[in-house]
Amino acid sequence: MARKSYDKLVFELSSPGRIAYSLPECDVPVSDPAALLPREHLRPEPPALPEVSELDVIRHYSRLSQLNYGVDTHFYPLGSCTMKYNPRINEDMARLPGFLRMHPLTPEAASQGALALMHELAGALAEIAGMDAVSLQPAAGAQGELAGVLMIRAYHLANGEKRTKVLVPDSAHGTNPASTAIAGYEVVQLKSEANGEVDLADLEKHLDTDVAAFMVTLPNTLGMFETRILEITEMCHAKGVQVYMDGANLNAILGITRPGDLGFDVCHFNLHKTFTTPHGGGGPGAGPVGVKAHLEPFLPMPVVTKRGDRYALDWKRSKSIGKLQAFWGNFGMLVRAYTYIRTMGADGLRSVSDNAVLNANYVMKRLEAHYDLSVPGPCMHECVLSARRQKKLGVSATDIAKRLLDLGFYAPSTYFPLIVEEALMIEPTETESRQTLDAFCDAMIQIAREAETSPQVILDAPETTPVRRLDQTRAAREPELTWTRPARPG
């Protein structure tokens, strides 16, 4: 007898005149806006917003939170997202008043702590990626991509070259083609080989002087290292093509190999993946971008510099692609990432990748008899299975994902990368214990069995979540994107 789950929206708690705020009395002489501002600038009616008490607020959002799975409560093997543990010390440090309560336009001389942190972090990221310079400004991976591609564009233009195309493998994350398109390029999709690696012949074929860049994810989105990466970057450079690394999967290679050493010209970081800043239910993240020296003049501005003991924001960057955010980057996330890097040190970071790889291979091994592998192992930090065998029994990757929710796990990424049929992309991360991995594998194996013996239980899933499967079609057909007060009865 499942209790009906909490189903309120804050608007539905509202009672006219109830308040949850505390504001001081006005202590200056004139307080009526109508006496201060021309009438046409004033809102005639107060906004129709909730009127609730502070307890209403706390209870409502506490209960809503309980409708979520998070890393804090559940194993979250969402491939490509690196749902690792978000350390609490990061949260505490980001909330120090000297960071949390700093206005971005504070005079430089009075912002030395914040600027120093940014400078140190940029240096650490450059070392980790083998890059010459890093901008911390991009707000997320996708914005890092845009920044990177725009720098490549500016570089070619500065060299008097007007290249128009960017090559992107068909296994790429959607942001890669999207960012490239926004940067004004034609996106040319390259076919991957059967094992998910770049098809060198196809690449060769496409590499012409109209190509500005080749953009590739490493390890790739099948969780595999590109074995011929050195050839690839060399081939590209030979044609004057810049090579961009999508660094979303950096968690696999910390201290093992470096994008810069592999020949990449640009690489972005997802601090919300590799460097433990929380995902926040969708963001904020931070997507710093690192470049080789030849691209350094084009970095977003301002750039944090250090002269002697003084840190400064350098705006005198005539070749810069400009700004991506109003201010300097998602500083709160930078504090967390810096805290993490200083917690781990070089050995700790190396150990992160070793264990991320080990965990992924362990899961892959335990599941390989029950699901099809997209590519044979060893994998790097994640493995991509295919539910094509189960699909024949009428059970799709989505169905398996839903069943996992009932068994107490969040789901792997599904249907990504697009080149794998019924893809289940599993990234355990290094912060999960063997016990957890075993419990998850047991559940996956149970589901594989159920697909054979009792598929209906999978198709009926989830049954223990706050809601059951939702009607996506209806949502898209007649979009209801805001709450509307129900008409008064009678």
Binding site: S111, A114, P177, G281, M380
Partner: protein
């Protein structure tokens, strides 16, 4: 290592299970030449206590808005943040979740976003709002690109009062599509309609106006809208939603798209990020909007539920043809805003606006009475205003720091013509005493 649970023994057992002798065996696909042959050159790892010491020392070098009285604005403001917000966003179920791709296990996030969309639509006077964009700058850039792709027109006209930091972001995003930005001067602190008129043509995708603008002045949004619409262009309005309890909504004044920096809605200053890019539009534009949208639906049992919807606009489906490249957004900041708006509510948001503008006007009176100081513009302002100082503003703010006052933003870096100007913001948090203290300190700093 406390974040890595595998013990040496477990590692051995797991390696045995996968049939590898060591992790190295799993890294065989990496070309040996490509391997890093040395440890990363990073500063040594710090234990938690040492780390706290180190970061406290860094943070201690900053003049923050707790230790100082803050009159800084320019896009983000020291508004009051009610205590429940931090407690709620610190719940692990919220902050350690991903984008709600499995809606059955993400109703908490989905419902808060749905509430957020409703609140932003109501505040801005628009039909729909998305789940957030990175910040006010990128939100504005997305709006301009959206207008461009909706109209197919190659230019955007920007009022001179648009936050120059945001304008720079627009310029960056405009590079790819080679969108031409045409700036209308604002010699009197507001859009010069006569100067704008010839620039708004059939080539214009959007007219962009911000109100209150960067200088604090209120713009005639309706007039800008008429200009835009007459030319078949869209009106994009940048607005600070925390003001909209008191100020007329952009929707009501003719906006087609409303964007803005939502930091005032409960998001900490945090040295400028993460912030909250607000994005709202008319209903008919929804299928061309950037970013995520949450919609209501029902589950198999007929119970109400919420999902990410209209995803065919997005990069993970539409790829190069997506309306935007955005993936990760600033969901947790949107949650802060949601809790903020729920907490302040109908009356509270009005009150915040009333207090802010009242105190700003009081401050303007007090400060302009300081010898040599005047208001730079005559146009009505809301919570921020531009002062003309008799001495270089950079030096003045440095002096004010000694009195623990963050006195304002010198405008020289933004506009050389305003090199004698200081932008001063006053929120509901500033007390009369603090304002009087500022006036006294300014008098002294100028003496």
């Amino acid at each position: 290592m406390r974040y890595i649970p595998n013990t040496p023994r477990e590692q051995r057992e797991m390696l045995a299970a996968v049939g590898a002798g060591s992790v190295e065996d799993l890294l065989v696909r990496i070309p040996p030449k490509a391997r890093l042959a040395r440890p990363l050159a990073l500063p040594p790892a710090l234990a938690e206590t040492d780390l706290i010491h180190h970061l406290r020392a860094l943070a201690g070098r900053d003049a923050d808005a707790d230790s100082h009285v803050c009159f800084l604005g320019g896009g983000v403001y020291d508004h009051y943040i009610p205590s429940p917000i931090n407690h709620l966003i610190s719940r692990g179920e919220f902050f350690t979740a991903y984008t709600p791709y499995q809606p059955e296990a993400s109703q908490g996030t989905l419902r808060t976003i749905f509430e957020y969309q409703t609140m932003i639509a109501e505040l801005t006077g628009m039909d729909v709002a998305n789940a957030s964009i990175y910040d006010g700058g990128s939100s504005l850039a997305e709006a301009v690109l959206m207008a461009h792709s909706l109209t197919g027109r190659p230019e955007a006209v920007l009022a001179g009062g648009v936050n120059p930091l945001h304008r720079r972001v627009v310029a960056t995003y405009a590079a790819g599509p080679r969108l031409r930005l045409r700036d209308v001067p604002a010699p009197d602190g507001v859009l010069d309609l006569d100067a704008a008129r010839p620039l708004v043509t059939e080539r214009t995708a959007a007219v962009v106006v911000q109100s209150p603008n960067f200088y604090g002045c209120l713009e005639d949004i309706r007039a800008a809208g008429e200009l835009a619409h007459a030319a078949g262009a869209l009106l994009v309005v940048a607005a600070d939603p925390v003001n909209l309890g008191v100020l007329a909504t952009p929707g009501q004044l003719g906006a087609d798209i409303v964007v803005g920096e939502g930091q005032g809605l409960g998001v900490p200053l945090s040295f400028g990020g993460p912030n909250l890019g607000v994005f709202a539009a008319k209903a008919e534009l929804v299928r061309r909007m950037p970013g995520r949208l949450v919609g209501a639906t029902v589950d198999r049992d007929g119970n109400r539920g919420f999902v990410l919807t209209l995803q065919t606009r997005e990069q993970h489906i539409r790829r190069a043809k997506a309306t935007s490249n955005i993936c990760t957004n600033v969901a947790l900041c949107a949650l802060m805003a949601t809790v903020y708006v729920a907490t302040l509510g109908k009356q509270g948001l009005v009150r915040v606006g009333e207090l802010s503008t009242a105190k700003a006007h009081y401050a303007a009176e007090r400060l302009r009475a300081v010898p040599g100081v005047s208001l730079r513009f005559a146009a009505p302002f809301f919570k921020e205003f531009t002062l003309k100082l008799p001495k270089p503003p950079e030096r003045v703010v440095t002096r004010l720091l000694k009195s623990k006052i963050l006195g304002g933003v010198p405008l020289k870096a933004f506009d050389r013509r305003l090199s004698d100007c200081l932008l001063v913001a006053v929120t509901e948090k500033r007390t009369k005493d603090e304002i009087d203290g500022f006036a006294a300190a300014l008098t002294e700093a100028l003496a």
